[in-house]
């Protein structure tokens, strides 16, 4: 199988997965006990508003028509309007996505940058106390609930030392002209650092352990001996050769673990009051604002699915040996 054929097949699989997730959502929504309208209609609404929503959702149409329109709407990311603010869900989502992406990207770069380098050293020091310490550290990082770490950070650095803001994405009174202006500001960075670091702290253990396992396998290969015999510096052998080879499985794992990072970001956004997609989803669920909750979920799931897709494709370019059999 060639690269192109693999890409086509993988794309087909991507569409299939997206369709399955959409269908799942539809089924769960319809299969809820009782009349679905009772879930999406708040008792306080007047008859006219109820009717508008029922029509908006197409709840009076036959199920298969509802299904088709649900899917077509999902494709164009039209999830209706928020019950709460009547704002189109699409607008809400597009406003919040950049905030979540910036947070996740910052955390991801930190987690994988530090995690991978630590993993290389832990793997290179097999059987030492350093190795055992590294493994335990990684497991501790993954065992501490993210939101609890966030609480501790807020307590120590926010309330006690007063060096980080307690909540939000920017200080009161700051009103940047655009998203880019805001991201570039020092104030934003000051707000970003704590939630991103907490998220990174949690995500770091995975690349660390994976890299260590992968390093152990690669360091046993004969070409590493040859590299050492060539008189290369230890650093060159470890990073240019061992880590470069050990890195390959991490790419796939990174994308898969993004699924977990998305979960973590829901919690971290809530703890730090970060106005992102995850926090909005939780708030929508609590307010029973189903259109927003669904929309946010589809965006988060779409992000995970797309990242898995990208990882699979990227693997072929990083490893010249891949043949896709």
């Amino acid at each position: 199988m060639g690269k192109t054929e693999f890409a086509i097949r993988r794309t087909f699989q991507l569409v299939l997965t997206l369709w399955a997730v959409g269908t799942l959502l539809f089924v769960i929504f319809r299969l809820m006990p009782g009349d679905p309208t009772s879930y999406i209609l708040s008792p306080g609404m007047d008859a006219e508003a109820r009717q508008a929503i029922v029509e908006d959702f197409g709840l009076n149409a036959p199920v298969h028509e509802q299904y088709i329109s649900f899917l077509t709407n999902a494709v164009v990311l039209d999830f209706g309007r928020s019950f709460h603010t009547s704002e189109p869900v699409q607008d809400v989502l597009f406003r919040l996505i950049p905030n979540t992406l910036v947070l996740m990207l910052a955390a991801f770069v930190m987690a994988y940058g530090i995690g991978i380098v630590l993993g290389v050293f832990v793997g290179a020091n097999r059987g030492t106390r350093f190795e055992k310490g590294g493994i335990v550290l990684a497991l501790v990082q993954r065992s501490m609930p993210t939101f609890w770490v966030g609480i501790l950070v807020l307590w120590i650095f926010g309330a006690w030392l007063g060096v980080i803001p307690m909540s939000g994405m920017r200080s009161a009174g700051e009103s940047p002209e655009s998203f880019l202006h805001m991201v570039a500001s020092l104030d934003f960075f000051w707000h970003l650092i704590a939630p991103a670091a907490c998220l990174a702290f949690y995500s770091m253990g995975y690349p660390l352990l994976l890299m260590r396992n992968s390093m152990l396998e690669i360091l046993g290969e004969e070409f590493i001996d040859v590299c050492e015999a060539k008189g290369l510096k230890r650093r060159t052998v470890l990073f240019k050769h061992a880590a470069r080879n050990a890195f390959l499985p991490i790419v796939t794992a990174a994308a898969v673990s993004l699924g977990f990072a998305v979960g973590g970001s829901v919690l971290i956004e809530t703890v730090f009051g970060w106005p992102g997609l995850g926090r909005e989803m939780v708030r929508a669920v609590i307010r029973r604002d189903f259109p927003v909750a669904q929309g946010a979920f589809v965006m988060l799931a779409g992000l995970v699915i797309t990242m898995n897709f990208v990882a699979d494709l990227a693997y072929g370019y990083l490893d010249p040996r891949v043949t896709y059999d």
């Binding site: 004969e222 070409f223 001996d225 040859v226 590299c227 050492e228 015999a229 290369l232 050769h241 010249p320």
Partner: protein
């Protein structure tokens, strides 16, 4: 002066059950331009010996005693950076299986150039020119230098490894089973190629193998190793024609002999001993048909006969008839019987 002198070298691997004495007091030397073969069954410490010289022992292995002198300097004593300067530039290697000896994610050219740049300053063009020359030298198409290792066949990879080993014209090449992964025709070609190239740049070579015929073809001198110790050492011709150690005789019988093609192959019964607590006397005692009580209690003396060094209590019995019988299965019968009694 010898190029390489290994003097009473001891290499231990730490394990849960105690140190494994993989190399235990081995001494020999290699002169400039000389080819020395290290022969023995697997598990006799041959590869450990090479790894120790190259400084690439497994992390639980270490040099526990003795010296490895290269050009008179003890390399076990050197700092890491001094040693790196020596590696590949002076001592290079052709590893056991070229299959996995090349880094899969870089092109062959990149890997050869990397070795060159680690030791010499030259322009990229000069380095590329050198790679081109090396490829022609080992009989590879220079146009393929930009291929990745997986695009090469087994024989091509072996040639690429040889090209890499020669890149800096080292004075010593350590070849660990350089041809075992190849078919017989390819083996022959590669061996001839190695010998020819080696004459050209006048380097010495240490060939590690369990295949006696490889040694016969390429080596001036042979060191026979058994269970971490030297059993016998001397010029290749003498080792083949008039060896004194029963183990050497046993090894010969186990491989097809070009000079006596009709002879049956007879393998030595039993296995090399565990090296955590090796036998106290001669290490070959449990498999040797000539073994006596002396062999069990005291280490064999070094016996010099003609131009051989032999570590055996019974060199007299060899001349007295065992040599001519060693090719027969019957000669080893007593060993089999003795082993059965022990069981």
């Amino acid at each position: 002066m010898s190029l390489l002198e290994v003097d009473d070298l001891r290499v231990h691997y730490e394990t849960g059950e105690g140190p494994v004495k993989a190399v235990d007091g081995v001494s020999f030397s290699i002169d400039p331009g000389e080819n020395v073969g290290i022969v023995g069954e697997s598990g006799c410490g041959k590869t450990t010996l090479a790894d120790a010289i190259l400084g690439i022992l497994e992390e639980n292995g270490s040099v526990a005693g003795g010296e490895i002198r290269f050009d008179g300097q003890d390399i076990t004593d050197m700092s890491a950076s001094e040693r790196r300067r020596l590696m590949w530039n002076e001592i290079s290697m052709i590893p056991q299986s070229a299959m996995n000896a090349l880094d899969p994610v870089y092109t062959v050219r990149d890997q050869i150039v990397e070795a060159i740049f680690a030791h010499e300053t030259m322009s990229n063009n000069e380095a590329d020119e050198r790679v081109r020359d090396l490829f022609e030298l080992v009989g590879l198409d220079p146009e393929r230098a930009d291929d990745y290792p997986h695009q090469f066949s087994g024989g091509m990879r072996q040639r690429a490894m040889i090209a890499m080993a020669l890149a800096l014209e080292p004075s010593l090449i350590l070849a660990d089973e350089p041809t075992t992964a190849l078919d017989v025709i390819m083996q022959d070609q590669i061996l001839k190629r190695i010998s020819a190239l080696q004459d050209e740049i006048n380097s010495s070579m240490m060939i590690i193998t369990h295949d006696v015929s490889v040694v016969a073809e390429t080596c001036d001198r042979v060191v026979v190793m058994y269970a971490g110790k030297v059993a016998e050492e001397g010029p290749a011709d003498t080792i083949f024609d008039r060896p004194y150690h029963p183990y050497t005789l046993g090894l010969q019988g186990a491989f097809p002999n070009i000079r006596k093609p009709d002879q049956d192959l007879v393998s030595i019964p039993g296995h090399p001993p565990e090296l955590i607590e090796p036998p106290t006397g001669c290490r070959f005692v449990d498999r040797c048909p000539l073994a006596t009580e002396d062999c069990r209690t005291s280490e064999p003396p070094e016996v010099r006969t003609d131009d051989l060094r032999t570590f055996c209590h019974h060199t007299d019995k060899i001349d007295g008839g065992f040599r001519s019988r060693a090719g027969d299965r019957d000669a080893w019968k007593e060993t089999v019987a003795a082993m059965e009694i022990q069981r």
